[in-house]
Assembly symmetry: C2
Homo-oligomer: 229 residues x 2
């Protein structure tokens, strides 16, 4: 029996934040399709959660929803948090920033489709600012262009989240690699280093062979491809 | 010198999550207008944060962004978290759920205005489901219609957040009180009990005298008033 069950779609988008972490710590987990819970059972879970991803923690016998909460739960269990309380808060803040970027890049889960003009504006300003924000967070600590991590000398959950965001983004949309390199060279390098860690590399290799450059799916992914391509 | 500085607009929306907490624990804090930091200085903070609210923790000498991170930081400092690790995760999950409802009720920070049909549908289904979700979370623990709290017998940050969400909502839009009473009677009662706690009651009394039923401001608040009224 696995220690964890992760319910998400066959897409990297929000699921890879958790899956990269589970791979990094070599957790014993099973990935299941979100449709087993959502949308029919999600309000009837012991602790109901509105949307995937869901993590079932078998030892605690608890279902969790909300990606940032799941990731903080795992980070605590596997000691992937920074030591100081302020830095732990900052780790959560980084994960929440990542989640905001996911929202924004999909135009709020596909609430509207991108058009060329709105995308160009988003890419040149807001997305560039987000990249800058992550870069400066790393600069305040020990992130260098070839060593160190976002919140200090040790790999933490904040790095996993940052790489799940930007590493996935530039894999799925290689045209954006130069944006990241320009606005956040240390983060770009961090993505390569973390994606190269043995367990994560093996996982991504399999996943990318299977899913290609799939990102968030649906019409909004197509809309992104139309405006980026 | 205050221990904390909170930067937000003169609106309850996301700021009251933090301010209700600071009042409850009788923290020594100062409320400042978000325009002192945003949008000109936010990317130049030591730990840059994209949008208000911001909290400056004078003892730690750190700026924090992201409401859920700020609230978890304060909850840890003032021991307003449940005891068990799983319940601490759940407290964060509840705060994140609250933040999602804020997003949804403002149509993603006013990305689109509400029209009558889309609002009616949201109110009847999605908003009702959110209320049900909070009610069932409380039912899994000791929340009763006249006693107990969302995650157990003790008041935690999850209650403060839930009340900052639904208490504020039904104050600002009294027409929604019957929705909450119908879908989440225990949560409705929790709002009344927590809003009645001495420090919070005194704060809300002042705030509501000053701001009336102001909620999130801008065109989106007007759009909400048009479709609810």
């Amino acid at each position: 029996m696995p220690d964890y069950e992760l319910f998400y779609w066959d897409l990297p988008f929000r699921g890879n934040f958790i899956q990269l972490f589970l791979e990094e710590v070599r957790a014993h987990y099973q990935k299941l399709d979100a449709s087993e819970l959502y949308p029919d059972r999600n309000l009837n879970l012991h602790y109901p959660g509105m949307a995937p991803p869901y993590l079932y923690d078998r030892r605690a016998q608890v279902w969790f929803a909300q990606m940032p909460a799941i990731l903080m739960h795992l980070a605590k269990a596997y000691e992937y948090l920074p030591d100081a309380p302020e830095q732990q808060t900052l780790a959560l803040k980084v994960i929440l920033d990542c989640d905001d970027v996911l929202m924004e890049i999909t135009n709020h889960n596909g609430m509207m489709m991108w058009d060329q003009e709105s995308w160009n504006d988003f890419r040149a300003h807001r997305l560039a600012n987000w990249m800058t924000l992550f870069e400066r967070t790393g600069q305040s600590h020990s992130l260098k262009t070839d060593a160190g991590y976002l919140l200090g000398p040790r790999l933490t959950v904040a790095d996993i989240a940052t790489v799940a965001l930007f590493g996935t983004l530039v894999h799925s949309f290689p045209e954006l690699a130069k944006d990241l390199e320009h606005n956040a060279p240390r983060v770009a390098n961090l993505c390569q280093r973390v994606e190269g860690r043995p367990a994560i590399a093996a996982f991504l290799d399999d996943q990318r062979r299977e899913l290609g450059n799939g990102y968030c799916g649906g019409q909004i992914e197509q809309s992104l491809r139309d405006v980026i391509g």
